[in-house]
């Protein structure tokens, strides 16, 4: 079964072509006269004017002569500001309800037979309207108002059945309330397709709020002459109560089994919100007084419904605003709005009343609740981006993108707002498919054509349709809420950017402070250690012969302690400088570098037996001076921790990987417990007691810092008493053809 299609092209286009404002005739239950506003000269008249009223005038005659009293009445009205006229007046030998309105083609005066004796006058209707006003004011909701309205209109008009229906966004009408004496079938809760009321008629409903057809079986009375002498065009009868209606509409009424009808427009915020329409099986006339009362009633309805809808919207808006305020408040503590949204999924979904929500930032997707898959969400974002849509609310995505059917069960409705002008960043809400059964008054999709004449549908039999691939529609308030939230997100992003800039400035400041701190340490902390060593040496020089062995041992200890503290300061400074110094990267011949490092280590190697196994080492892309420190530390460690071995084996190997070069230093030393491998690279972390192996505990931290700064990795493996293996990688040089290769190391 298809989704509701609104393929109204056939009937709508054909009806739109119907000249409903200029039908060229009127309904025969009254007569019509057009006079010039200044001279009251007769311009046009309906063919039945003389027969109905006894006025025998033709175009060009002065009305004054033919009907002086009527002319006087019309002149009095014409000289006032009053737009329309409604009087009960004697014309000739009879009394008529005379109504008049101004048009650019002259004053249109309409004559209808008077109300039967004993019927209510307009004055008598006012208290009724007052009661009606009180009743609707007390009604709980729009449905309650509709109930009261249909009852009142049926009592006033005497129709067999009075319906109140409201139009949805697509123009389909749903019957909200019905008052009926059972003569005509019930249409309560049924739906009428938009095509039943063509666009042109809809416009006319907004202009002229009441329309009466006392009998569907009539022959129109023609306007004579057909063209207005004022502008040479057919007479515009848009606002004439007697306007003859389209034959298509009369056929529609006959198909519906109704002999007469009246409708009253309900306008909310300038739009046609709905209609109150009365029908009888038999012809039925409704006096101008009653029609006016119904019109006033319609306006009361309009105002009441408008007020109710506004109040409801305001309440909804307020509720959603509270949700937004709460969510935005919580977001401010989050690292990013995406993360913040994900951790407050409930509030996030409530912003627009979605069953699921998602945020797409370029290609990354965060989704909560019932949503399509991440890939499908990306696909949707691409569709929105493609269409350059900054916001959209759909209750059936499948209607726009047939492929969306695949995830209709999780998400048929989409409300999306773009949160970035530059990037494909969207916040989305989803609603699942709601399969509903809609009861149509007849099958809406089959407008019928017979011969060359447009023909309205003939069946109003209940026709059930299952609506699929469609979610509960988004309300305007929800859409607004999503838009407002977009602004909050944009503010958030902007504020974060500012905060980040501020933080960067602050970090630059702190870094400067740190720099001057380490600068003064390098001066002030080294000096006392130097002094201790200096004085201890001087003392040793001066009193060597006076000191016994214990005293000399003490003096040596003082010197050694101060020396090692001095080395510690030097290492720490070196380490901190590494963090600050810029990378001066170039091609480094690692084989040559290892050879040089080994040379500088020569003094440490005296008395040691070391079996060096050095494989081919690929050149690295690195800061030569820094890489030297890495090698120095790793080789120094290998030498140090193999000291207990008769023959130390130190193996240095290299590997040329696709995106990096890797170097491994393996020894057969005392090794370490791999449980603590992760602690190895921290500053001051030592896995051996200091009297076993001296050292400051900074070497490996420095190795890691250098490797990190190059974007590489370093790993350590150890087996207690068997040896240790250190491997580090350095990424290969990013391809930059404009830079010349620099030889370093």
């Amino acid at each position: 079964m298809n989704d509701i299609g609104h393929d109204t092209s056939l009937d709508l286009d054909a009806c739109a072509a119907e000249p409903i404002r200029i039908p060229g005739g009127i309904q025969p239950h009254g007569a019509l006269l057009v006079v010039a506003p200044d001279t009251l000269e007769v311009l046009q008249a309906s063919a039945n004017l003389a027969a109905m009223t006894g006025l025998t005038v033709k175009a060009g005659d002065p009305l004054e002569t033919a009907a002086p009293m009527l002319a006087g009445e019309i002149r009095r009205w014409a000289n006032t500001d009053g737009y329309s006229l409604l009087r009960t007046l004697p014309v000739g030998e009879r009394t008529f309800q005379v109504t008049g309105h101004r048009t650019s083609q002259g004053l249109i005066v309409e004559f209808e037979p008077p109300p039967p004796a004993g019927s209510e006058s307009l004055d008598a209707l006012y208290p009724r309207l007052g009661q009606f006003l009180d009743a609707v004011a007390g009604a709980k909701d729009v449905a309650g108002i509709a109930e009261i309205a249909v009852r009142e209109v049926r009592e006033l008009s005497g129709f067999n059945r009075v319906l109140l229906y409201s139009f949805d966004a697509k123009g389909d009408g749903t019957v909200l309330a019905e008052s009926s004496d059972g003569v005509l079938p019930s249409y309560l809760h049924l739906r009428f397709p938009a095509a039943d009321i063509p666009a042109q008629a809809r416009e006319l409903y907004k202009l002229s709020r009441t329309r009466l057809i006392p009998t569907a079986d009539y022959e129109p009375e023609l306007i004579e002459p057909p063209l207005s002498p004022v502008d040479g065009r057919p007479l515009d009868l848009s606002l004439a109560a007697l306007r003859s209606v389209s034959p298509v509409h009369l056929q529609y009424m006959r198909n519906m089994g109704t002999g007469s009808s009246m409708s009253v427009s309900i306008l909310v915020e300038g739009e046609l919100w709905g209609l109150v329409s009365g029908h009888s099986r038999e012809p039925r006339h409704v006096t101008a007084q009653i029609r006016t009362a119904c019109d006033i009633l319609g306006q009361i309805l309009s105002l009441q419904i408008e007020a109710r809808e506004q109040a409801r919207r305001t309440a909804d808006r307020l509720a959603l605003k509270q949700v937004e305020t709460e969510l935005v408040g919580r977001l401010s503590a989050a690292a990013s709005y995406q993360v913040g949204l994900a951790s407050h999924a409930g509030l996030w979904k409530r912003i627009a009343g979605g069953a699921g929500a998602a945020v797409v930032s370029d290609q990354s997707v965060i989704a909560v609740g019932s949503t399509p898959s991440d890939d499908d969400i990306r696909w949707l974002a691409a569709r929105l981006q493609e269409a350059a849509l900054s916001e959209i609310a759909l209750d059936s995505m499948a209607e726009v993108w047939p492929e969306a059917e695949r995830f209709a069960a999780q998400a048929s409705g989409l409300l999306a707002v773009s949160v970035s002008q530059l990037h494909s960043n969207y916040v989305m809400w989803f609603r699942p498919e709601v399969i509903r059964t809609v009861e149509w008054a007849g099958e809406p999709q089959k407008p019928q054509e017979r011969g060359d004449r447009l023909h309205p549908r003939r069946s109003f039999q209940l026709w059930k349709q299952q609506v699929r691939l469609r979610a509960t529609p988004w309300t305007s308030v929800e859409f607004e809420s999503a838009r407002s939230f977009r602004t909050s997100i944009q503010d958030f992003v902007l504020r974060r950017a500012e905060e980040r800039a501020e933080l960067t400035n602050r970090l630059v400041e702190i870094n400067k402070e740190l720099e001057s701190f380490s600068y003064s340490i390098s001066h002030d902390l080294r000096a006392p250690f130097r002094h201790v060593v200096g004085y201890a040496e001087l003392l040793a020089d001066r009193s060597a012969d006076k000191l016994d062995e214990t005293a000399r041992h003490y003096l040596n200890s003082i010197t050694e302690a101060a020396l090692s503290a001095g080395r510690l300061v030097d290492d720490l400074l070196n380490f901190s400088q590494l963090g600050r110094a810029g990378l001066n990267a170039g091609r480094v011949d690692v084989e040559k570098l290892v050879a040089e490092v080994r040379r500088t280590m020569a003094p440490d190697l005296i008395g040691r037996r070391i079996d060096w196994r050095i494989g081919p080492l690929p050149a690295a892309w690195a800061d030569g001076a820094m890489l030297r420190q890495v090698m120095q530390n790793l080789l120094h460690n290998a030498v140090k921790y193999t000291a207990p071995r008769d023959t130390a084996v130190i193996e240095i190997s290299g590997e040329d990987r696709p995106d990096a070069t890797a170097y491994t230093i393996r020894d057969n030393g005392v090794g370490f417990d791999p449980t603590y491998a992760h602690k190895l690279f921290g500053v001051f972390q030592r896995l051996h007691r200091s009297e076993e192996f001296e050292g400051t505990g900074i070497g490996l931290a420095l190795v890691r810092r250098v490797v990190d700064r190059h974007g590489g990795t370093v790993t350590a493996n150890g087996v207690p008493n068997e040896g240790a293996t250190f491997t580090f990688t350095l990424p290969k040089r990013p391809p930059r053809p404009d830079t010349e290769t620099q030889e370093l190391g």
Binding site: A527, R530, V533, G534, Y535, T559, L563, D570, N574, A581
Partner: protein
């Protein structure tokens, strides 16, 4: 040939001063050692003014200049000496605790003749001072102009 002009030692820290003097004494140099305790005093000596208005004329054989000094710091003294055409031939050796690269760079920019980071190890310090003393006070031939002045 020994240059017997004095050595100007500019040092504010009394311990560093004492140790440096001890190291110089160990070198058994014949030169007088003139001590200035801040940069201003060093400049007074070099320009023969204020407290040094009556000193014997002539440039020192070498200036051993600490980097961090009260009043006028070491780099400033260096800058003044090296930017003055009448002073710039005087050898200046920077003695400093600092291992900061920028101090070293700045000193060389200003035209320092040598830069020594005072080692923590006194023996190493002694060796450094001895080398400096030997080189600048004994081996280094002073430029002709200062000899004429002397």
């Amino acid at each position: 040939m020994a240059d017997l002009r004095p050595i100007l030692l500019v040092e504010d820290n009394p311990r560093d001063l004492e140790l440096t003097l001890a190291a110089l004494a160990k070198c058994q140099l014949a030169n007088d050692i003139v001590v200035a305790r801040d940069g201003a005093e060093a400049l007074d000596y070099l320009y023969g003014r204020n407290d040094y208005a009556d000193r014997q004329p002539g440039d020192p054989a070498v200036v051993l200049l600490d980097l961090k000094l009260p009043k006028v710091d070491g780099l400033e003294v260096l800058e003044r000496v090296k930017s003055d055409p009448n002073q710039r031939q005087i050898p200046v050796v920077m003695l400093t605790s600092s291992r900061e690269e920028r101090d070293l760079l700045r000193s060389y920019e200003l035209g320092v003749n040598a830069f020594v980071v005072k080692p923590v190890d006194f023996n190493a310090f002694f060796e450094a001072i001895q080398d400096l003393g030997m080189f600048w006070a004994i081996l280094n031939e002073p430029p002709p102009r200062s000899r004429v002045d002397a």
